[in-house]
């Protein structure tokens, strides 16, 4: 449970505005998808929510009784030169659980993502798809309140994508808030409860997934979805 309120968030890199007084409120549960063209500010929005990027102005509030336990899955998996299991265990060190519990949870997470046989394998030598599954396993193992996913299945084959989507669904059903950046509108339809359309650093539309994708109101959302829909949405729907 973590409602996220972004209020007039402004971010600029080297004088170039990336988020332009972005204002939106994401519901405390379910999966929210951030969609929009390249350069719209989707990844930066995730980083602002995670606290990795401090806004130049505006505020980010995340509701909840305690600071949310977060998990961020980046577009390109970031792994330490250690075994797959060690990478998951490292993510569990801030949780104040015993070493034995860490090991058990890491094994369970690897098992969940079909990586049991790779547990002792160097993480950086896994295939691109396996590395991304490992990053997802790490996120799953944390049992997070808030999960931020930046195109998590961009490098995955269809079978691994299905596995990853099942995992995201499971994390969401466990009560975590999921914010997903994806260009795959079929995936957005399958996973997201609501959709925020970003364009040039602003939220131009926010509503239930089907409503936004089938009858977008703003010109920017219409243009983006028109460009994307014929390839992915109907393929997913059929």
């Amino acid at each position: 449970m973590a409602a996220i309120t972004l209020d007039k968030v402004e971010v600029a890199f080297n004088g170039k505005t990336v988020l332009d007084r972005l204002t939106t409120e994401l519901p405390p549960t379910g999966v929210t998808a951030l969609i929009g063209p390249n350069g719209a500010g989707k990844s930066v929005t995730l980083r602002v929510i995670d606290g990795l990027v401090a806004p130049n102005s505006g505020s980010v509030r995340i509701s909840g009784q305690r600071p949310p336990r977060r998990a961020f899955v980046f577009q390109r998996p970031v792994l330490v030169r250690a075994s797959a299991a060690a990478n998951v265990e490292l993510a569990l060190t801030p949780l104040r659980i015993t070493r034995a519990e860490r090991k058990a949870r890491a094994r369970a997470a690897l098992d969940r993502l079909g990586l049991s046989a790779r547990a002792d394998h160097p993480a950086t030598l896994l295939s691109g798809g396996e590395q991304q599954r490992l990053a997802l396993a790490r996120a799953w193992a944390i049992e997070p309140d808030l999960v931020l996913l930046d195109e998590p299945t961009a490098n995955l084959d269809p079978a691994a994508t299905e596995l990853a989507e099942g995992l995201v669904d499971e994390i969401s059903r466990r009560g975590a808030k999921v914010v997903l950046v994806s260009h795959n509108l079929g995936q957005v339809v399958r996973l997201a409860d609501d959709v925020v359309v970003l364009s040039r650093g602003r939220a131009v539309e926010h509503g239930p997934t089907r409503a936004v994708l089938t009858s977008p109101r703003s010109a920017e959302a219409q243009a983006y979805i028109k460009g994307e829909l014929p390839w992915t949405f109907f393929a997913a729907a059929s």
Partner: protein, 233 residues
């Protein structure tokens, strides 16, 4: 000339006492200096890589410039520091192996710190956001980054050892090239060549070259191992 070669081979083949003891002292001094240099230089380099503070650019420029410090000048400063009238004169270290370790540590530390800074900065740029996102403490983040670049740091240590074992300026100034006490391979080669004992000089020269070649081979082997074991060094 042929006699010199024959004598050199004889000295090496019979593990001549002078050759062995001088080489052993060189190794002891340079290995100790690399050890202390790693203890000081790795945390310093890592700190400069990840911390943001006023004047950081100047510190980076200084570290990089200090990588190329002339050993003889470092020796001179350490000499002034350790000489009887210097601030650390009371310790009585001048013209001892300890003084040579101090001087070589002063040479090694900026080299190790500057190389570590670059390596850690690159790794931090890659790992930093993920590690911060996981909520790891600053200390643990630094430890993870240093662990991630461990193979590169071993290469740094080997590079530092290569520089130290083959330098002459610093050890000569603070050690004094005392026979059987502070005579290293480089100072001995210089002296024996002047005295005309070319076989000892040549034998030590060959040991030194063998060491440098071995260090480079070890660095290469390590890179190969790291690439096989983890995909990159």
């Amino acid at each position: 000339m042929l006699d010199t070669f024959n004598e050199t081979i004889f000295r090496l083949a019979t593990l001549d006492r002078d050759v062995v003891s001088i080489a052993a002292l060189s190794l002891r001094v340079s290995l100790a200096a690399v050890g202390v240099g790693l203890l000081l230089g790795v945390p310093l380099g890592a700190l400069v890589a990840v911390a943001r503070f006023p004047g950081r650019g100047a510190v980076v420029a200084l570290l990089n410039a200090f990588m190329g410090l002339p050993p003889v000048v470092v020796g001179l400063f350490v000499y002034l520091l350790l000489s009887r009238s210097g601030p650390l004169g009371a310790a009585g270290l001048l013209f001892t192996p300890s003084a040579m370790i101090v001087a070589q540590t002063a040479l090694a530390t900026p080299l190790i710190a500057a190389l570590t800074r670059q390596i850690v900065a690159d790794a931090e740029a890659n790992l930093g956001p993920q590690l911060r996102s996981l909520g790891l403490s600053a200390v643990r983040r630094s430890a993870v980054v240093i662990y991630d670049v461990r193979f590169s740091l071993v290469t740094v240590a080997l590079a530092a050892f290569g520089r130290l074992v083959s330098e002459i300026g610093a050890v000569l100034v603070v050690g004094g090239n005392i026979d059987g006490y502070t005579r290293t391979m480089t100072t001995a080669i210089s002296l024996e060549t002047q005295k005309g004992d070319l076989s000892l000089a040549l034998a030590l020269g060959l040991v030194l070259i063998a060491l440098v070649v071995a260090i480079n081979a070890a660095a290469l082997g390590l890179r190969g191992y790291a690439a096989r074991a983890y995909g990159s060094a």
